[in-house]
Symmetry: C2
Subunit: 134 residues, 2 copies
């Protein structure tokens, strides 16, 4: 067993209403609250509950953010995976020690959580977010 | 609440040993059994447990399968999302009724499960597998 949990899977969308029609109305996933605008990251986010985890639908609201560039170059689809770890600092230190690249020099904080991203080149092409609830 | 659960998230890898070093040894996820060769799909698969779900690492073993072509064109990374539904046939019929495209005319069966894929153009760019335990 491990203390690491799957927290969310993020999907970049180009049409939030169409995405909600499919994931919420079509598949029947429960929506957790109304979509939220996160202006600091220039995105709108809607969360859908699947068991203990959630699917995060992300729509860029400007054209120059990282997710906007992802959408422009790769199209909508799977974007990143987020795992919850019990001790973020210890895990980041351990990964760095083994030569894996952490994108954020120090974890970011937002809405009761500290988080950092692991570079896709260290995680087999996957953009991986690690977070710890605070 | 919904009866739909997150079953697994599949990641295409080009080096299973390196992938296991990161996901299992680096992150500390528990490996569920030894990697398996699925000759019918020309892949090797290793599963890592995260809570009630798992991460499925998939490495193509030939150069002409769908996953081999994905790896060649997009590189390693997130490949598909699999949700468990209580009644697969009913869900597929409902999705077709709403105009969503199901890739498999009838569900496939393997190792105690029936499954079908929803086309990425119907699921906002995500290759989505739906399955039902049998």
């Amino acid at each position: 067993m491990t203390d690491t949990k799957l927290n969310h899977l993020a999907i970049i969308v180009d049409d939030m209403e169409a995405a909600l029609r499919f994931w919420r109305d079509g598949l029947g996933l429960a929506q957790a609250g109304a979509p939220q605008s996160v202006s600091a990251e220039a995105v709108d986010i809607a969360n859908l509950t699947v068991g203990d985890a959630h699917i995060e639908l992300i729509q860029p609201t400007t054209e120059d953010s990282g997710v906007a560039k992802f959408l422009a170059t790769r199209g909508p689809g799977l974007h990143h995976l987020c795992l919850e770890v019990p001790d973020l600092d210890a895990k980041l230190a351990e990964l760095r020690e083994h030569g894996y690249e952490v994108i954020n020099d120090s974890p970011r904080e937002r809405a009761g959580r500290r988080y950092a991203f692991i570079h896709p080149k260290s995680a087999g092409g996957v953009l991986l977010e690690l977070y710890e609830a605070i």
